[in-house]
């Protein structure tokens, strides 16, 4: 262990003199997170209010309930600004002119269709430059229509049971009793990070995979500059040499993440969550990143080759794991596939931490630790050929 520490300390001393390491581990992630926050974070960010328009051509109880209870309820809570359009055309025009993020078009006959059990729909017209605001509008509409479907089933069941009240009255009564908290339910779910934190964490974990590269590819560098032979001839166990390289990556990773967390909190106002939970996630994430990059390095013949392959793997895993955009927006298949990426678990762990206690991060920590155990074991087996000149 002493030799592993000595090797790691030497590596760290050398890395500390490499300015590109600071750029990769600190400047780039902070810079990109800041840019993403500036470009995208204002959409639905802290205090950001979506401006919606509603055009009610129905004027029935279903449409009125949606407008008065759901939309005006959200507006009263400060989540949205609501403007009324006299027609669907006016609502569309408001969106086209940027006066509204999205518009709800409630068609004539909506209430009748719902009560009669016919297909009915609320149309959402969104601004192409405001995908998040449009997504939120769509979610509001879908949540409401989902409730309507439930009401429809309940009314049918009531009628079927022999109650004499007219179905239309039952439906109107049920629709009127729809909860106005539907917006809150959809937007304050426990797995939701605010944009600043989302982008800061996404960039931090994405660049973490680059930051840890230098440690695990250090063995290939040692071979290139000839010092590997000297290490192998020294009274040092080969396992200590490998452990020293992995330790270098872990230390660089933890330092990089720590600085990024502090800096993004102070400079960008990101809220990472309880320090203990964040610490567990960071440690597990660093181990997972180290393992993944170590496998790639062990498969490469040279440090340059390893660097190229590692970049590809880091980018693919980062994109897959939601470092750039929330995976939930990418469809079910990709969402399932994303579970192989440590990034996904890291971000999910942070979201869970935001919505629960420290214990909420344990599933994510366990997933990343398992990933790290498998990849590190594979890397150690593969690295044997590197320490056998």
């Amino acid at each position: 262990m002493r030799h592993a520490l000595l090797i790691a300390l030497r590596d760290l001393r050398e890395r500390a003199r490499d300015r590109t390491a600071y750029v990769l581990a600190l400047v780039l992630p902070l810079g990109l997170a800041g840019v993403f926050t500036l470009i995208l974070g204002n959409i639905g960010g802290d205090g950001e209010v979506f401006r919606y328009a509603v055009a009610d051509a129905d004027r029935g109880v279903i449409a009125t309930t949606f407008t008065d209870e759901v939309l005006r309820g959200a507006a009263t809570g400060g989540a949205i600004e609501l403007r009324t359009a006299s027609s669907a055309a006016e609502a569309r025009a408001m969106v086209d002119k940027g006066q509204a993020t999205a518009a709800f078009l409630l068609p004539e006959g909506l209430t009748e269709d719902v009560i009669a059990g016919r297909a009915a729909r609320i149309e959402v017209v969104g601004d192409v430059d405001a995908p998040t605001g449009t997504q939120v509008a769509r979610s509001l509409a879908e949540a409401y229509t989902g409730r309507l479907a439930a009401v429809r089933v309940a009314v049918a069941a009531t009628v079927h049971s022999g109650v004499t009240t007219p179905p239309a009255d039952l439906a109107a009564e049920a629709a009127a009793s729809l909860p106005s908290t539907v917006v809150a339910e959809d937007t304050t779910g426990r797995r939701q990070l605010e944009p600043k934190t989302q982008y800061a964490a996404g960039m931090a974990v994405f660049f973490l995979f680059f930051a840890v590269q230098s440690g695990v590819t250090g063995l290939l560098d040692e071979r290139r500059i000839g010092t590997l032979a000297r290490l192998l001839a020294a009274p040092v166990r080969r396992s200590s040499i490998l452990a020293g390289k992995l330790l270098t990556s872990v230390v660089i990773g933890v330092l990089s993440m720590t600085v990024l967390i502090v800096a993004s909190s102070l400079l960008m106002g990101a809220h990472w969550g309880h320090p203990a939970g964040v610490g567990l996630l960071v440690l597990a994430g660093v181990l997972a990143a180290t393992g993944a990059m170590a496998v790639v390095a062990a498969l490469a013949k040279t440090a340059d080759q390893a660097g190229g392959w590692q970049a590809v793997v880091a980018i693919v895993l980062g994109a897959l794991g939601g470092a750039f955009f929330p995976v939930a927006q990418a469809g079910r298949a990709l969402e399932v596939l994303s579970l192989v990426a440590p990034h996904r678990w890291f971000l999910r762990g942070l979201a869970d931490l935001a919505g629960g206690g420290v214990a909420a991060v344990l599933p994510s920590v366990a997933a990343m630790t398992a990933f790290a155990a498998v990849t590190c074991a594979v890397a150690l087996v593969l690295f044997r050929k590197v320490v056998r000149p």
Binding site: H3, R10, D18, I225, G226, T227, A229, L232, A234, P389
Partner: protein
């Protein structure tokens, strides 16, 4: 006493038998030169001696300790100076030395000592990447000396260095041998081997094909030292007189000169000149020809050493 003992060392890489049944030993204070063309098996042999590589067969013993890739105790007894510069360019000379000193458990005071020995004390705080080629070579050697090894393995330590650094390295090697260190030395420079090595082993195609002192190797080939004299005077009388000297094996007359075959030209030359001049013969020129290792090497391997 033997510090290094190699017996029956063999190592194969795929279809290539890199080293084949190589055996030799090096005594305390002895400098042993391992000569061979590129690809002859020198570096593979050295890798097995230093515990970098495991032999397929045979064994290496360093001061009584068997060597292997996991032999920590044996590795502490060996100082290794690889052929390639093995330095960390972004560390200073002193930091490079401190790192390896800590790996070997050497005292920190040794760092300053070896910096003095190799003449880098005044540049110890500079990054290794800023050193000249010769300085890097000297630092490369210094790392191998840090822990006062019983056996020092130097693989081409002077390749590509300036004459000043080469002389300094060679002076260091002589001094270390004088202190009792056993030294295994490979080089492409024949004059270095002749000046430094007490014994030489010639390796070719993985096999040790000859071993001994320079004189022993030369004699194995039937070659002798020759002294050519251009004289004014009675050549026949001079030839008869010189033929009577014990170390002179034969004398032949060629025009105005004589050619003598002798055991050791350097020892014999003063006696020969004294004998000639004391008999009134004037010496116009003297030429000494000593068959060198280059000749031996070419004869044994059919190749020049630098091929």
């Amino acid at each position: 006493m033997s510090v290094l003992s190699c017996s029956g060392l063999s190592r194969r890489f795929g279809d290539v038998q890199a080293v084949d049944d190589v055996s030799f030993s090096i005594a305390e204070g002895e400098t042993y030169g391992l000569l061979g063309p590129n690809g002859a098996g020198k570096t593979t042999t050295i890798s097995m001696i230093t515990g970098v590589l495991e032999p397929d067969a045979g064994e290496v013993v360093v001061a009584g300790q068997p060597m292997s890739t996991s032999a920590i105790a044996a590795k502490r007894l060996v100082g290794y100076v690889p052929q390639e510069l093995a330095l960390y360019p972004d560390l200073t000379g002193r930091e490079n030395l401190r790192f390896f000193a800590s790996l070997y458990g050497a005292a920190r005071a040794r760092v300053d000592h070896v910096l003095d020995v190799v003449g880098l004390a005044d540049r110890a705080g500079d990054l290794a990447r800023e050193y000249s080629g010769g300085m890097k070579r000297r630092l490369n050697v210094a790392i191998g000396l840090l822990h006062e090894p019983r056996l020092l393995v130097l693989d081409e330590p002077t390749a590509g260095v300036d004459p000043q650094s080469r002389n300094q390295i060679m002076d260091n090697v002589r001094a270390l041998a004088a202190e009792g260190m056993a030294i295994l030395y490979t080089t492409h420079y024949m004059e270095e081997a002749e000046r430094l090595c007490d014994r030489v082993g010639v390796i070719d195609s993985g096999r040790l094909i000859a071993e001994g002192t320079r004189r022993e190797l030369v004699e194995q080939l039937g070659e002798r030292d020759r002294i050519s004299l251009l004289l004014d005077g009675d050549l026949a009388h001079a030839a008869t007189m010189l033929g009577g000297i014990r170390d002179v094996k034969s004398v032949a007359v060629h025009g105005h000169g004589l050619e003598l075959v002798v055991d050791d030209a350097r020892e014999c030359l003063p006696v020969v000149l004294s004998a000639v001049t004391s008999n009134g013969v004037v010496v116009r020129s003297v030429e000494v020809n000593e068959p060198n290792l280059e000749t031996v090497f070419l004869h044994l391997t059919g190749k020049a050493l630098r091929e």
